[in-house]
């Protein structure tokens, strides 16, 4: 719970910072005007700053143009997107029809958007009072499959990455160098490799009877995330001075205490990055999922791909956009909240300079 609370606090702090940004901006402008009046800065100096800022802002707009475009597209259900009227749909036609389609008609939450209703069943088979989701004859939708896969990936990934990173960073053991070297070699081969081995994977999974198994798929994604993230976390832990642990030991802390009180708190930014990357490994992949799973087990990524390729040249853009926005939303929120940690955690310690 404390994790949730601190996460909520983080998001709130971010929102406050963003909400008060205009005020700070006004203060900056006022100060510039004051400096101009009192002659502390020359007009040329100030206009250089203004130009650079405008340039930076324009660049951000250009870079984020695709995302802005797809967001406006998601609001334009029922209109034709590619017309003479321009790139962006007419704001007067904005509506939430596409989102309604995602929630109540697509397979996002429940198959065919059939939500049903929760039902209390007295004296049912599962204990005295059991709680049942009734009315959905079609069953749970893609989001549950995705969440299931991601939970397995996160549990397996964290359970293996964190201890291994600690061991690589702090312990000496036989084969340490060799294994680490192998991991570094495989860092960048994760996702691409799984497509390359798809042919073999399909045969292997079939012969072991593991196709159409969400649990095994989750494990598979964890496996693909191990080398890069173990290495990332290890380099992050390397930057924590060993003297901290020694000091704690001198004060009578046990081995487990040093991990709980020193290592884990100081590794938080690194853990945040690993959390995001492992999450993404399970949340985004779709080719392996599409090959190994049957339609009733498709996660959101596969459903999204199916919407995108429904017709070779006629992607239903508004529905695709709404579906994709809802699909990317959780990741975007986590990412937004942890942005500072991502920047810190990705700095790769020793790689600088």
């Amino acid at each position: 719970m404390s994790v949730l609370r601190s996460f909520a606090a983080l998001v709130a702090a971010k929102l406050v910072a963003f909400a008060t940004a205009p005020k700070r901006f006004v203060v900056t402008v006022q100060r510039a005007i004051y400096d101009l009046r009192t002659g502390k800065r020359t007009p040329w100096d100030v206009s250089k700053s203004v130009l650079m800022t405008l340039f930076g802002f324009a660049m951000v707009l250009v870079l984020l143009f695709p995302l802005f475009w797809i967001f406006t597209a998601s609001l334009a259900e029922g209109t034709r997107l590619f017309t003479t009227s321009g790139i962006f749909p007419d704001p007067s036609t904005y509506n939430l029809g596409a989102y309604r389609w995602v929630v109540f008609e697509s397979d996002f939450f429940f198959v065919d958007g059939d939500w049903g209703y929760p039902q209390l069943v007295l004296g049912g088979s599962g204990g005295l009072v059991s709680f049942r989701w009734a009315g959905t004859e079609t069953g749970p939708g893609a989001v549950f499959n995705s969440l299931y896969i991601v939970s397995v990936t996160l549990a397996a990934g964290f359970g293996m990455i964190v201890p291994a990173a600690y061991a690589f960073s702090r312990r000496k053991f036989v084969g340490r160098k060799r294994i680490l070297y192998g991991y570094v070699l495989f860092t960048q081969i994760g996702a691409g490799l799984s497509i390359a081995t798809l042919v073999a994977l399909y045969s292997l999974f079939s012969s072991y009877g593991l196709t159409n198994n969400l649990f095994v798929l989750g494990l598979f994604y964890a496996a693909s995330a191990i080398p890069f993230n173990t290495w990332l976390l290890k380099t992050y832990m390397d930057n924590i001075p060993v003297s901290y642990e020694e000091a704690a030991m001198v004060d009578g802390a046990s081995f487990l205490d040093t991990i709980r009180e020193v290592i884990l708190p100081l590794t938080k930014p690194g853990l945040a990055v690993v959390l995001i990357f492992v999450w993404l490994a399970g949340w985004n992949e779709f080719i392996i999922a599409q090959t190994l799973l049957r339609p009733e087990n498709y996660p959101l990524s596969v459903e999204l791909y199916n919407i995108a390729t429904e017709g070779r040249f006629s992607t239903p853009w508004t529905r695709f956009a709404a579906f994709a926005n809802l699909f990317a939303l959780p990741v975007a929120i986590v990412y937004f909240a942890a942005q500072r940690s991502v920047e810190d955690g990705l700095s790769f310690g020793g790689m600088e300079g």
Partner: protein, 330 residues
């Protein structure tokens, strides 16, 4: 309490002495689960893939059912004589090289601008600019396909049309105008251009993050000292900034180049490596041979070659790029 701990300690030491490796090696136990999982899902399939590449398997069933026979290196020989293989290989390398160069320039430019003292609100801009990293590839790549639509009213074609209007109203020469609509996905080089643009857009956030964090470690006093000495912007860039970001840029280049080499989604979503198989990057080529043409053996051979290339590239990069710097220290 104390005695029970002692007992446990005794048990542990007895256990340790029974193990084949010395007591200090227990760190290995923390690493093994990951290695096992990784090997069984990643390394084992590669070995199996190599086995398939030595057979004449034509479809998944023949691999599983054992209907395929070992034919040695025949697939590889066939591969060397396949013009599509060479075309695919060279396109892939070109794709990696071009996108890498563009990526480095774009990312360094963005990082320098968003770390510049004169830019107000650069922290917010940085937060916004790295957002593409957080979105699923299938989402962003499909969006880019929509923007590069061949249609007359596709996003980029509309933009180019507007540009044409402006230019011709300024009575600019015909050379500066574009011949709209451009078939971004149906022309060979137009499609290649679209791939590179998208790849750069997907990879720049990672580079920007790494470069910015390197730039922030450069002490301000260094810049000030250089300015006092009368060094111009270019000179300061060369003597202060460049040495600071050289390592991180090289590092990020190695990582993104290896990913670009295995780029699958962009060509696949855009036009499946078309037109007429001209832009099939190597993984797409291998995937198509298996899925569309039922040549599992040949496909396996292609993919093994691709994996070997990436492995070799990473080996060289790790050895000479100092990627595994932290590994050697003991």
């Amino acid at each position: 309490m104390a005695s029970s701990q002692l007992d446990a300690g005794d048990g542990l030491s007895r256990l340790r002495s029974a193990l084949p490796f010395s007591g200090r090696d227990w760190g290995l136990l923390l690493v093994i689960p990951g290695v096992v999982l990784f090997s069984s899902f990643m390394l084992y399939p590669i070995v199996y893939l190599f086995y398939i590449s030595l057979t004449d398997a034509t479809f998944a069933g023949s691999v599983i059912g054992g209907g395929a026979e070992l034919i040695g290196l025949e697939n590889y020989v066939q591969l060397l004589g396949d013009p599509q293989f060479w075309s695919s290989m060279s396109t892939t390398w070109l794709f990696v090289a071009v996108s890498l160069v563009v990526k480095v320039f774009v990312a360094v430019g963005i990082a320098l601008l968003l770390n510049h003292a004169r830019v107000v609100g650069k922290r917010y801009m940085r937060a916004a600019v790295i957002v593409p990293l957080g979105f699923p590839g299938i989402f962003t790549i499909t969006v880019w396909r929509g923007m590069f639509s061949d249609a007359r009213f596709g996003v980029f074609n509309t933009l180019l049309g507007r540009y044409n209007d402006v230019m011709s109203s300024l009575s600019a020469p015909q050379v500066l105008l574009f011949d709209v609509p451009i078939g971004f996905l149906s022309g060979r080089w137009e499609a290649f251009f679209a791939y590179v643009t998208t790849e750069v857009w997907l990879a720049y956030p990672f580079m920007v993050i790494i470069i910015v964090s390197a730039l922030q470690d450069v002490p301000k006093s260094l810049h000030e000292a250089a300015m006092v000495d009368g060094a111009g912007w270019l000179q300061r860039f060369r003597t202060v900034t460049l040495p600071a970001i050289k390592g991180p840029v090289l590092f990020a280049s190695i990582l993104t180049a290896a990913t670009s080499f295995q780029q699958f989604l962009i060509p696949w979503v855009f036009n499946q490596g078309g037109p007429a198989r001209k832009n099939e990057l190597i993984i797409v080529y291998g995937y198509r041979e298996a899925i569309s043409f039922n040549e599992f053996g040949l496909s396996a051979a292609i993919l093994i070659v691709a994996i070997a290339f990436v492995g070799l590239f990473m080996l060289v990069a790790v050895r000479y790029g100092g990627l595994a710097e932290g590994v050697g220290e003991e």
